[in-house]
């Protein structure tokens, strides 16, 4: 899924707001909560870029609303050692849930669930936000 401005053509920002986070892979499910710093935004796109090669198993990623095992926003998989540094993997958005109108004032977070591989590897996560279609 390539990013195309999706939900609001007449954006109050004009362009997406972007959050980044560098994440190390883990051999057990690990939760990384990222605060949403803006009001009335929807997550419309997310991708990763590998910065250290992933080792012996795929790295499964889920973006969830507010808490570990919260409602799924999007999922992605970074393949194991075949994935070289510089590889981009895009998230598949969970239908409907990305338009969730997250808010700073509600202390909403995006929880990144990281599971696998055997523990080596690193990537940078990019989250694109747009003004909520419900704002």
């Amino acid at each position: 899924m390539a990013y195309t401005r999706g939900l609001n053509a007449a954006s109050q920002f004009g362009d997406p707001l972007i959050l980044t986070c560098t994440v190390n892979v883990s051999n057990a499910e690990t939760n990384v909560p990222i605060k949403v710093p803006w009001d009335n935004v929807d997550l419309t796109y997310a991708y990763t870029i590998t910065t250290t090669v992933i080792d012996t198993g795929d790295c499964a990623l889920i973006l969830e609303i507010d808490a570990a095992d919260g409602t799924s926003l999007a999922t992605a998989t970074i393949a194991n050692s075949g994935t070289a540094v510089g590889t981009i993997d895009e998230f598949s958005m969970t239908a409907g849930n990305h338009a969730s109108r997250m808010n700073l004032l509600n202390s909403n977070i995006i929880n990144l669930s990281v599971d696998g591989s055997s523990g080596n590897g690193q990537f940078v996560l990019y989250l694109y936000f747009e003004p909520s279609q419900y704002a």
Partner: protein, 132 residues
């Protein structure tokens, strides 16, 4: 310190956010981060552990503003030893006057002074608002 928006909401809707990934360090290590805008104040800083901090000591993090006027510490934070992945820590603003006016001709210096093995890593997010 919980972030609550300052200023006039009608002319400013959302903070400018800058993020940086920093490794823990045995000895004092300085990481400069450019401020991408003029006439902003740093209103909130928090960190997220992405590699567990080792058990030997806390990861001390100080934030300094550097410009032609010198170097001034304006915020501090401590990530406890043994902190697990996903741990959130918020910085305390210690010099509100310095935090209240920053420019592109200055930069923020992150001073890391870690545990005795230096294992661990964090992401740091800075929230800026314009000076109104």
């Amino acid at each position: 310190m919980v972030y609550t928006r300052m200023g006039d909401r009608t002319s400013w809707n959302n903070p400018i956010v800058v993020s940086v990934y920093v490794n823990n360090s045995i000895a004092e290590t300085n990481v400069p981060v450019y401020i991408p805008h003029n006439d902003v104040r740093c209103v909130y800083i928090y960190s997220l552990v992405t590699t567990a901090i080792d058990a030997t000591a806390a990861m001390e993090v100080d934030f300094e503003y550097v410009d032609s006027g010198g170097t001034t510490e304006f915020a501090t934070m401590q990530v406890a030893g043994s902190s697990t992945v996903g741990t959130v820590d918020e910085a305390t603003i210690t010099d509100a006057l310095t935090a209240a006016k920053m420019n592109q001709d200055g930069y923020i210096q992150i001073e890391i002074d870690g545990s005795s093995t230096g294992t661990g890593a964090i992401n740091i997010w800075f929230y800026f608002e314009p000076i109104l």
